[in-house]
């Protein structure tokens, strides 16, 4: 009931988390997910992104798709800050299993241990998975 009241008075802010688990280019998930995140910014919700498993590869520095003939969308992750999406969580275990460090990533992220990230997932109102 109180939620509906708040809606009429300018909206409830919910916690939305976009969970990214796919490498870029091999499938369309990473790019589609990024586009949905950008659109979601228009709704002024509390948006965060989690990069787990191969999703960590989305943030790898030095992507160059010239020979591949696909658009290199990795620079767009750096635009997220301008969209007020600044909570980018990376699971440490996923990053390390792939031989990556924070220095290999093209944006500032918050690296979290598995347990910490699990708690973050629990906190969310809505989880959207790509």
């Amino acid at each position: 009931m109180s939620d509906e009241m708040d809606m009429e008075e300018g909206g409830v802010i919910k916690k939305f988390m976009f969970v990214n688990r796919k490498a870029p280019y091999g499938t369309i998930y990473a790019l589609e997910g990024l586009e949905v995140v950008l659109i979601s910014a228009a709704f002024e919700q509390d948006v965060s992104m989690a990069f787990i498993d191969d999703g960590v590869y989305e943030l790898k520095k030095g992507q160059d798709t010239k020979e591949l003939g696909q658009k290199n969308f990795s620079p767009t992750y750096r635009a997220l800050e301008g969209y007020d999406i600044e909570k980018l969580y990376v699971e440490r275990e996923s990053m390390e299993a792939r031989g990556l460090t924070e220095d290999d990533l093209l944006v500032d992220v918050i690296v979290m241990d598995r347990a910490e990230l699990a708690a973050k997932l629990d906190e969310q109102d809505v989880l959207i998975s790509f």
């Binding site: 490498a23 280019y25 091999g26 191969d54 590869y57 992507q63 798709t65 696909q70 299993a97 792939r98």
Partner: protein, 99 residues
């Protein structure tokens, strides 16, 4: 025989199955997300290095570059371009794609 793997070893077991069933002297070509299997420092590295005693491993350059991985290819992996991909297919009598 040429084996082609296009899935990340961290997401699917395609590369694992491929290495299990590739006989001595075969070639394994990693393309698309499969190229992550040819990179240094990850937890799959040991399996690929061990397999290289028996099979020759190739990785496709445009897919490595797109993913920002061109500068961390495992020693002993041969990087090939699209022309090299065609040559590998032509050189081998048969080919299995581990989708």
């Amino acid at each position: 025989m040429l084996h082609i793997v296009n899935k990340s070893p961290y997401e699917r077991n395609s590369l694992e199955s491929c290495l299990r069933l590739a006989s001595k002297g075969s070639a394994v070509l990693l393309i698309e997300d499969g190229v992550y299997g040819a990179t240094k420092g990850g937890s799959f590295e040991g399996k690929v290095l061990a397999a290289m005693a028996d099979v020759k491993v190739y990785a496709l350059a445009p897919d490595l570059s797109a993913r920002g991985m061109a500068d961390r290819v495992l020693d002993g992996v041969s990087v090939v371009d699209y022309g090299g991909f065609v040559d590998l297919v032509a050189e081998h009598t048969n080919c299995q794609s581990w989708l």
